[in-house]
Chain length 138, copies 2
Amino acid sequence: MKTDSKPHVRTRRDHSTETAEDYVEAVLQVIDSRGACRVVDLAKRFGVSHVTVTKTVSRLQAAGYLTSEPYGPIILTRKGRRVANESMKRHQIVLEFLLALGIGRSVAEVDAEGMEHHVSQETLSKFEAFVAGRKGDG
Amino acid sequence: MKTDSKPHVRTRRDHSTETAEDYVEAVLQVIDSRGACRVVDLAKRFGVSHVTVTKTVSRLQAAGYLTSEPYGPIILTRKGRRVANESMKRHQIVLEFLLALGIGRSVAEVDAEGMEHHVSQETLSKFEAFVAGRKGDG
DNA sequence: CCAAAATTGTAGCCATGGCTACAATTGATA
DNA sequence: TATCAATTGTAGCCATGGCTACAATTTTGG
């Protein structure tokens, strides 16, 4: 009696990577809008305690996405900036796609955040094409 | 210096709920195709060890989604069946939507699994409407 | 029916991501 | 400047979800 189940492809980014992307994206945005990013900014952004942020930041520092000295601001490494930019681009495409489908902005923003880590390159391309098509139509 | 960050809406189902949905959905499908669902079936389906499945099953049993006796099959409760059916329906809508967009079946299946937990009711409705529209066009 | 294989359970480990409580440091201001 | 508020760090707890190793049970075949 052998099983016929699928071999669990796992294209989808794993959860650690999702966290890394969410963090570097947030860091970049906070720096852009406030000049520097601090633990407290991320805690507010994600709605978690500063302790959770501190721990995650130290893990992401070990993984080479960012740096920070005690009581200092959070700075993206080159790798962190690259990931942040890619992540923001994906996010933007998904958001524009949902808006183009006629979904309300606030809902689209929440859904885009949830979806952005689970969309393959192929799907992302189709999303882009769809948005481009709608722009032509007016 | 107060922050202007958004109050983290959290419409998106939390991760425990995602796991519950994935499991009951899988249990229902395995029962449909093999007559009964066992720990080993879920382990193969999700690509994890039987130990992980056992632990999760016991948690989901405590949460009222399913029941199982030692060395016995996994059975859905009424609640488990309800959640499984809703979950499968959402999954199906997302999958059909991706296929309607022209995404290849294997990619669409992976993306649908990742996306299904992050799509709001509003977005789901738009997805359905889009698919319905395409069906008319041929 | 009994031995071997398959399945399931248990013990114990790890990482992630969440928390409270409390300590330390920095920053602001009276 | 000295104190108080805000920020950050640390200790230690919990749940989830992953694992290996080993024990127990069930199933299967000879």
